[in-house]
Symmetry: C2
Subunit: 330 residues, 2 copies
């Protein structure tokens, strides 16, 4: 690896001049500039950004940290972040915490050491407050989807509205008894969605609501298990609402396995995308994940740029997709 010294030697100038030539070309004489650039090209030199950032505390890079990279929602958040970063000349590091708080802490440490400038942050579900590493450092960050009640920008989805859209859709289709397969109440989004359902369902039919709610982890296995439980419990129902894509996938598997035809015998509606190739299509609400990632990143760049205004929250409305029109519904 060539260093700035090599360039200086070849160009016959001091390292300072080389540094200036790169960061402040106007402050170096045309002749020297020429020779320095020639030397740079000749050696294939590129400055070591880390040595640089050890000094200047900025690195033109940000990270996006998500709990599960194989979840299409998080994937699109990442893609959204990429879309704005590419234009801004930043490098993006993608970290997959696999819903593990320890892994998250380790990754945060590594990112901080590596002088990243900011973080698009979807925290692990079990976090109830900002990880110590983060509170000990003033790293610019913006939350997506989940948030921890701190004074940071946050981009969120309108969970209650999404559940309501799905619920009203099912009711409009004539279903009376709607069951829920939900996520954990200890998590912000799990709770929001469960509660949205609860208030809707009680409104319709208070007596049955309790028996028709099953909650567990936001996982495919969880959805599978809860769906089985629901069916095998023998309760009457004509539709099921799953509050996230993984739960929905698990539920669909369970239904198929149990010989239940969706939507003939039972209708299934899902929060989040479940895959475009499912046939017949499953009614679902889709979060604007890409846009959420992009918006988060725009905010982040503003913060990195020095904006220290009050924390902002933006709420994205989910979009309803139904087999009938497959387009926005409001």
């Amino acid at each position: 690896m060539k260093t700035i010294k090599d360039v200086a030697a070849v160009a016959g100038v001091s390292v300072a001049s080389v540094s200036r030539a790169m960061n402040n070309p106007s402050t170096v004489s045309p002749e020297n500039l020429k020779r320095i650039n020639a030397a740079i090209r000749k050696l294939g030199y590129a400055p070591n950004k880390i040595a640089r950032s050890l000094k200047v505390q900025t690195s033109k890079s940000v990270a996006v940290m998500v709990p599960d990279i194989s979840n299409p929602f998080h994937l699109k958040v990442i893609k959204g972040a990429e879309s704005v970063l590419a234009a801004a000349g930043y490098t993006l590091f993608i970290m997959d915490t696999e819903e593990s708080a320890e892994k998250e802490a380790r990754s945060l440490r590594d990112l901080l050491d590596r002088q990243i400038d900011g973080l698009v942050y979807v925290p692990v579900l079990t976090n109830d407050r900002l990880p110590p590493i983060l509170s000990a450092n003033q790293l610019p960050l913006v939350f997506v989807d989940r948030f921890l009640g701190t004074e940071h920008d946050s981009i969120r989805g309108n969970n209650a509205a999404g559940i309501s859209m799905l619920y009203r859709y099912l009711i409009a289709k004539g279903h009376r008894t709607i069951a829920l397969i939900g996520g954990p109440d200890f998590s912000q989004i799990g709770r929001e969605r469960n509660e949205a359902f609860r208030s809707l369902a009680f409104q319709e039919d208070g007596s049955h609501a309790q028996a028709l709610m099953r909650t567990g982890d936001f996982t495919v296995e969880g959805g599978y298990r809860l769906a089985r439980e629901l069916v095998l419990s023998g309760v009457a129902m004509d539709a099921v609402l799953a509050t996230n894509n993984l739960l929905g996938i698990g539920a669909l598997k369970a239904f198929r396995e149990l010989g239940i035809r969706v939507p003939i015998n039972l209708e299934l509606a899902v929060f989040d995308e479940i895959g475009e190739l499912v046939d017949p299509p499953i009614p679902h609400v889709r979060q604007q994940a890409f846009e959420m990632g992009a918006q988060a990143t725009r905010f982040l760049l503003e913060r990195i740029g020095g904006d220290s205004g009050p924390a902002r929250t933006v709420l994205f409305e989910p979009l309803l997709f139904t087999p009938e029109h497959y387009k926005k519904f409001s």
Copy 2:
């Protein structure tokens, strides 16, 4: 952020002793060790790994670089890498090059600057040789899926075998005229798969083979376009073989749009997974992506550990999944 100096001050020793206490505890007196550790805990100090690696040229971190993080194959390669790294105490940086050589070069530069110890590398499709940055540095790396003919370990899938499995499956089902929707011939894997098909098809029916082959980009759009072309060209065919998942997804979309029922009117078989929720299931071969990522990472750790034996290639056999048995087929 606390530095080693802060610790030294609190403990009342020199920075050298603090450093030793962390890296070579036996060389520091028990009393001092105690006071230093107390200071570390008190301050919540953690050493800056980058400043460290600026010196020692190692960082306990590796990266996995893939051309498209939303492709399930690459996703599983990443997950496989994660599985072995977690145990080894390494941090993993995930880089998405989005099939762009420029983005790839930039990311490589950043990784190198940040002193990563090694790379699990799925190069961009258009690369025909090792990026200059990589040849200028002796970074340990191992290829997955694609490779560039250099002296590095590489983990590959048996492309010819996969195509053959699919082809033979279709023939066994009684199909006579099989069309191909393939990737670009300029890429290693695109070519391998196309050629495997070509030799099989010519064997069966030399005359029709040419008209029945369509190749383009490994993208959903490509698959969609080629499938349409194929259908609209009016050639007779009773089965289509798509040589990667994206092409398959695009083809499936096109067929559905054109009112062609799969597999009633036309059978579709796909190389790579296309999603487990497609109903009825599409026959496909599945690469052992997770295992490939894991194996690559094991090799990589060996190389990082100093193993300088000759380059190894391991070929993973794809597995055939059919609607009929949905299990391994050989």
